[in-house]
Symmetry: D2
Subunit: 346 residues, 4 copies
């Protein structure tokens, strides 16, 4: 920690801060600058508690931690990439994995058509929501248990693994029975009760970035899951909330490269939510491959116009198929870069 | 709904859109503009589904709803202010209610000292966290059940009502046993499983605005709780996330006035989280009274420097007491304005 | 400056950084932490250049300045408040000053009616744009020189001082001939050519915060003007750009209190641009008085519906008059607080 | 325009609005919805003035324009891409153009080394600032006229075209004497005096997006330049300001694709300012090529550690050279996509 004292801080205030630092088990290094005193605290202790205390002490201008607040998910802790395996696919290694499917599971015909269509086009994992987080209580809330059953059917028919969203810590067991990957949606990225429960779940977790969460907060949420026992986490950039309204969210594409520097976990891109507009999805998907993401998650619907949710950003099966075709040469370059620069593509 | 067609939209596309609108049970009003066709859809139907469908239809530029997406919480639905009653206080009427106390319940001595101190200074409701949403899994997570017991003790000793945070739909019953008001924190404002469970809870809900949620989304979350059965909701502005780092959040003070225009629910201000800095709390509290908030929720700690969380933004008991004293003349003006302009202070 | 080295930084990298720091004239204080080396640089030198260099050096994680980047405008440099005097009013002292008038000067009748109306209601300074920054080249761009002449006429008729916007460094002289205060609009807050030219201008400057500028950047722009010779600056909070669309901008009311802590310059609030909506202006004005602003700048138009710009946020003369009446008791409290706590109201 | 009346709007208010619409020269189409009346205004007139007036009229909820506010720069107006030609390069056609060089021109040796280095690596245009917009008045402000002379020398020596920033409408002539392309920096994107002056300039303009400007505002600023006579404009995405601090700005990569849908003007990406961090520049550059940008502008310095500005985000000549080499296969795919889908890559 580095503590900057205010310009006119008194000798007593400075001594008080030094004493507090020592009470927390740290050593004190004091620097007398031209304008103010700066104090370094070195050692091992309860950083957060110490920071909170010092920020509240009289005469203190600011108190800043230097060490990173996460440990298990950091690349410093584990330099080699984590490979997350599900039935038929591996993320974080030499394979670019595409997850695709409708926003919501609506009925058997729809999810079967979607599953078969995306499998044919090259997706390895089927996405589809059974529990849906909707802004309005009056909108379609998902088929819930019935939706899970339909996903299981679609998996059996196509061999695709299944990723689906979980919205409450009380649902972990029944969702984990069906899902190969449990998805934490953007609105629940800091639902800590849920994160703790997922730490005890044996299935991999797809953790989507909150719409106003920093990269560091995303990593802290992943740290929650890991610290509670589950290291199989896939991170997902899905766009953040900004002042721009031309797109539904602002795709923070650089976050993919930043995350690859900071963590060993695989990172995928969701070009559908990041843009909110069907015509932009293939362009963002290309950018995601080029920047080195480990995969994509894409909304695809057999009849976008009849979708009960997210119709405007869903590709039709034909559009998805065309996009996958167009991505092929980019995926060739992606594979080549992976075989050269093993640890991090950035 | 108003649907704007693209400039070059074909006759077939326009007819297709009109047919879709009618299939959803609406009447069509088509306007031929200079540049493009604009279509109005009038009637009663599933607005969201219809919008989703139209946004996905070929030739459509945009589809916008005109009616507001919430109903029960709107002032149009119920013009007179909702009064939320708890033991010893009423929000939304002629009384300005101050909730105060520590961020976390830490031990008996601390919560008792806090409760007695804030009661003496004029607070009517004691705040204190038993379940704590912390960004880091390594930070103090709250005393949980033990914390609830201590809150019950403090209530008994002081007569203050108690507001405390709830983080999971599985905890509603045990928290509702102790709390007079259940608080939904900013990070859970769109935890829809929790909102639905709280709709069935007999206690009032304090719903904090998410740090990147719009006023409209806050109202939609309140609509969830109401639509599931619980109309006793207090809204809280607690600062939003912006690019500015001089304060922990940006206090969107205008939201208080905007909410009073749009809804009949009481609205309080949290000057502690809105600023993150003790020295700014009294100034924001004054602004909150002046703009017509129905109350405040303020972090107060007997020894801010020893707080396990939020020390930098907690007032000491002496500081809180001074602030309450300074607010008195402003509260006089507040009361005078309430007795004149009954429905909305804005 | 505090320079944090990366976790695995080599001895050579650390020595290289220490040498660079010394080349820039600073003394080195090195702290060996558990995880990484942290280096303090103490003394006087070209901070920015040194930081830039160190950030680019190998092995460096981050380089952060501790001293504040502005000097003349800081409260540390000059603790007592700066009083900016214009004909008939003084900002920053014991007087709350209201500036009011139309967005644009449109014609003689309009500006005369506005000037007389706002003077009657208690405004001391007339606002009115002759040069207008409009997003579209096809919108009304202001009467320019003709507008300045009409402002001079209005001043003569009413005795009000005049504040008007300046958009180019080439216009300083002709605008300064008429205006008592030259306004730098939000879009030009970092038009450094203009700021430099205004440093040589003998008239006070009203510097509006850029819509995405931090408080610190606002102070740096004020420092530009002061460093080039003109210390008579009034700062203005006018709302910042965020994700929220319920208001035109988000009024960062806390910035008023933050600025009063950091600078001796007077700070006013613009409730019209901050909200963009007429019905919210009086509520924000009250909040501005309560938080301790030194004044307000308010858009008022004799016929808002016929305004060539900003009609939706302009008060009519009757509405303005009513607002001024309602503010009176709040201004009483404001005056009382000024006579007690002389230096800073926060 | 579509005008939504408030729910309880009276017959008189509705008639008044209809009359106002007709006074502005539009035809009225009124739709009686379930909840409220919606009025369409069709025809040709002064849209902005009419909107302003209606927003201020009693009983009006909102007034929204349907037609786009820009004309000359829209793809609807001119479907085929605009090709901007400078000495030795053409943007917007079949060529991907890289501009590179230091943030500031510092001295002859530096700019010559930079120019030769970037030319060798494949850049076609030399960037370098003579007039520098710096947040602090105490930072290096550029060599100004001397800097322009050095740029001219570098051009002569290498044959590279030159792009350099212009900060005041008073400088257009002398900058245009030397520069092949005049750059408007992010902070001046809405410096309308400057935009108007550049409309009369015979040289192409590189218009950078303001750090909190929407895509639509960027197009409006381009419309200013075009409407005043100069259609040769290159747009540049350089990152926007958000809450995220892991990068200097947030690269809104989707804006490249959005702009290609909306305008015929060429669009380039600035991966240096978009990230602020040297290690991220090559990754963002790849994403820029993949999404179909027309070129890049990259900060390159012979000795980043000795740069007077932007050292942390500048590539060394070796790093730039390596990046250009790595981009080659991506540029192959870029060219292939251009020869297929002529008008818009998105």
């Amino acid at each position: 920690m580095i503590i900057s004292m205010k310009k006119g801080a008194t000798k007593e205030q400075i001594e008080h801060v030094c004493r507090r630092i020592q009470e927390f088990g740290y050593k004190v290094h004091s620097i007398q600058g031209e304008e103010r005193v700066v104090i370094g605290a070195v050692g091992v202790g309860d950083v957060t508690a110490c920071l909170e205390s010092l920020e509240a002490a009289p005469g203190v201008e600011s108190a800043v931690r230097i060490s990173s607040p996460y440990k298990f998910v950091s690349r410093e802790f584990k330099p080699e990439p984590t490979r997350v395996r599900v039935d038929g696919a591996e993320l974080g290694g030499g394979e670019f994995v595409v997850m695709a499917g409708p926003c919501s599971v609506e009925n058997e015909k729809q999810i079967m058509a979607a599953a078969e269509g995306v499998a044919r086009a090259g997706a390895k994992i089927l996405r589809g929501g059974a529990f849906k987080p909707r802004t309005s209580p009056y909108d379609f809330q998902g088929l819930e248990l019935e939706g899970l059953k339909l996903l299981a059917k679609a998996r059996q028919a196509t061999g695709l693994a299944v990723v689906t969203e979980i919205m409450s810590d009380g649902d972990v067991n029944r969702v984990a029975e069906v899902a190969d990957i449990l998805q934490v949606g953007a609105r629940n990225m800091q639902n800590f009760a849920l994160l703790k429960a997922l730490g005890k779940c044996p299935k991999p977790i797809l953790l989507k970035r909150g719409m106003s969460s920093t990269v560091k907060e995303l990593l802290m949420s992943a740290e929650y899951i890991t610290a509670h026992g589950n290291p199989n986490i896939i991170l997902c950039e899905r766009g953040i909330r900004t002042f721009e309204t031309a797109t539904r969210n602002t795709c923070d594409i650089a976050a993919v490269a930043v995350l690859h520097e900071l963590t060993h976990l695989p990172v995928i891109l969701d070009p559908s939510h990041a843009s909110g507009k069907r015509s932009l999805v293939p362009a963002l998907a290309r950018a995601g491959v080029a920047i080195g993401a480990d995969g994509l998650i894409v909304e695809v619907h057999p009849e976008p116009e009849k979708a009960l949710s997210d119709g405007a950003q869903s590709l039709s099966l034909a559009e998805f198929s065309r996009m996958m075709e167009e991505l092929k040469p980019y995926l060739g370059l992606w594979k080549a870069s992976r075989s050269v620069a093993a640890p991090a593509p950035a």
